[in-house]
């Protein structure tokens, strides 16, 4: 796979972004820009501030300080325009299990005001793209983890967003499903020039897919550049080695929130 389909127009601009929770600084004065069409990997150990950053970029959390511009709109003042600009696949599953795949998609189409005459065609096309056409009338509770992820990606693209946020989209998936998922994301990036912002703990994925990488640790961005630049900087042979050299080899304390989410996910894993 070749790398992303990029142009020079800045689509995400983050300036001096900070988020504090009761005195604890989760994200500490970070800045970065992402160009349209980039595939940007946002890496870091557990509890480093990745998800908190994504939540601020997607209007789910109010920043304590700093500015975010998405597709030219300020996140604080133009929330609706910002929300129309992106699709998101959350770290946790966010589908309604009691609805069918089609119903989940339709629900999203209405929320994002997709024109009525396009809804059916777009849903069918996207379900075909993610290989779920034949399961469209099945309840999501009967889907495997990989199928749910693919459906979430299809749903995130239904309103033709400029940016797709993927928060650990391949966590817990087998190698085949991961491979299929990334090849679909790659297709999207090339076909529609969709900007991809993703987090992952699989550094081989980041090295293979991302046109640029940022590493966040203890709430601060400690390195930014292409995988090659980071390897050269750290005099290592792989992004994983570069990452370990930058962030250290100590195992990080996972936050209570993260652990409870993981337990929840385990308990909800499809039969």
């Amino acid at each position: 796979m070749s790398k992303a389909n990029i142009n020079s127009h800045t689509i995400i601009k983050v300036q001096k972004l900070t988020k504090k929770f009761n005195g604890f600084t989760a994200v500490d004065d970070i800045s970065f820009t992402i160009n349209k069409g980039e595939v940007f990997a946002f890496l870091g150990p557990n509890g480093a501030g990745k998800t908190t950053t994504i939540k601020m970029l997607t209007t789910l959390l109010r920043p304590t300080k700093g500015k975010i511009s998405i597709n030219g709109f300020d996140v604080k003042h133009h929330q609706h325009q910002v929300r129309r600009s992106f699709g998101i696949v959350f770290q946790d599953f966010s589908l309604d299990e009691e609805l069918t795949a089609w119903e989940n998609m339709y629900f999203h189409a209405v929320l994002y005001k997709v024109p009525g005459n396009l809804v059916k065609k777009r849903i069918n096309n996207l379900l075909r793209l993610v290989g779920l056409s034949d399961r469209k009338n099945n309840f999501v509770k009967t889907f495997s983890g990989g199928m749910r992820r693919r459906l979430e990606i299809a749903r995130g693209l239904l309103h033709r967003p400029q940016i797709l946020f993927l928060d650990e989209p391949t966590l817990g998936l087998d190698a085949q499903t991961r491979n299929k998922l990334w090849s679909q994301i790659y297709k999207l990036n090339h076909k529609y020039q969709t900007t991809i912002f993703f987090t992952t703990h699989y550094l081989d994925e980041a090295e293979k897919m991302a046109s640029r990488v940022a590493i966040i640790d203890h709430g601060q961005i400690v390195a930014q550049g292409t995988a090659l630049e980071l390897k050269q900087l750290t005099k290592t042979n792989s992004l994983e080695d570069a990452y370990l050299k930058i962030t250290g080899k100590d195992i990080r304390q996972e936050s209570v929130d993260y652990m409870s989410k993981m337990r929840l996910r385990q308990s909800r894993r499809p039969r």
Partner: protein
């Protein structure tokens, strides 16, 4: 705006309709009250000159089941918070008011369906409505009761992160509301202190209104019952909308 409210409403209805065990389970408790209390205390009530207890009890049990169903539907929001679906709605380019209205109207509708099911059940155990032409206005009143309690449940759920506080709601809000509403015994023969407490209980006005429409027994005037429920629903819905805008995922 209407389409967003409609899709949120539709989702609630579909989830309810597909959960047959929930529908069957939700008529178990009213059935128990009607059979155990209706037949158990019916004789004593009649000897005391109160008339047919089932006729007295039925509107109370219908109101209670509407309240339960509406509050639980509101509290359903915690489920969506815990299992991630809420985030899908929170990042959508729609106002939170639309989301809240759809959810609350869905909860109110489901509670009316529940009320109608329990009403049919009361007919089976011998309830004789005073005037069948009042059934339709009764459904309107059921909706008002449902609207208030679905808003209340959603407001509470907006403040809760998980189900740990749920037992508190049951023990300190739902059950006292039921027992102190005049659903099970006539308020006019209760001690004055209890009557005063009951007058601050929203369900009292729901029970009073339904009893007047269905059984022809007057406690407060129907106009007052309806007015109070409309005012309380409006206030609660405003508070719920405000709290919902403050939710951070």
């Amino acid at each position: 705006m209407i389409k967003i409210i409609y899709i949120m409403w539709l989702r609630q209805i579909k989830r309810y309709w597909r959960s047959k065990s929930r529908i069957i389970g939700s008529i178990g408790q009213p059935m128990l009250y009607l059979v155990a209390m209706g037949f158990g205390l019916g004789g004593i009530y009649q000897k005391a000159g109160g008339g047919n207890y089932i006729d007295f009890l039925a509107p109370g049990v219908i109101s209670q089941s509407i309240m339960f169903m509406a509050v639980f539907n509101g509290v359903d929001l915690i489920w969506d918070k815990q299992f991630g679906f809420l985030k899908e709605t929170l990042v959508a380019p729609v106002s939170r008011l639309e989301i809240v209205l759809g959810r609350v109207l869905g909860g109110a509708t489901i509670s009316v369906i529940q009320g109608i099911l329990v009403f049919l059940l009361t007919l089976v155990v011998g309830f004789k409505p005073e005037n069948l032409s009042y059934v339709l206005p009764s459904v309107g009143l059921m909706f008002l009761i449902g609207l208030f309690y679905a808003s209340l449940g959603t407001a509470i759920a907006s403040l809760m992160k998980d189900f740990h506080g749920f037992q508190l709601i049951m023990n300190f809000l739902i059950m006292p509301s039921y027992f102190l509403s005049g659903a099970l015994f006539p308020l006019d023969s209760a001690p004055p202190a209890l009557q005063t407490i009951a007058s601050f209980n929203p369900l009292t006005y729901g029970v009073s209104g339904l009893r007047q429409l269905m059984a022809g027994t007057v406690n407060y005037s129907l106009g007052i019952d309806i007015l109070i429920l409309i005012i309380l629903s409006s206030i609660t819905l405003s508070i719920t909308s405000y709290l919902f805008t403050k939710i951070e995922a």
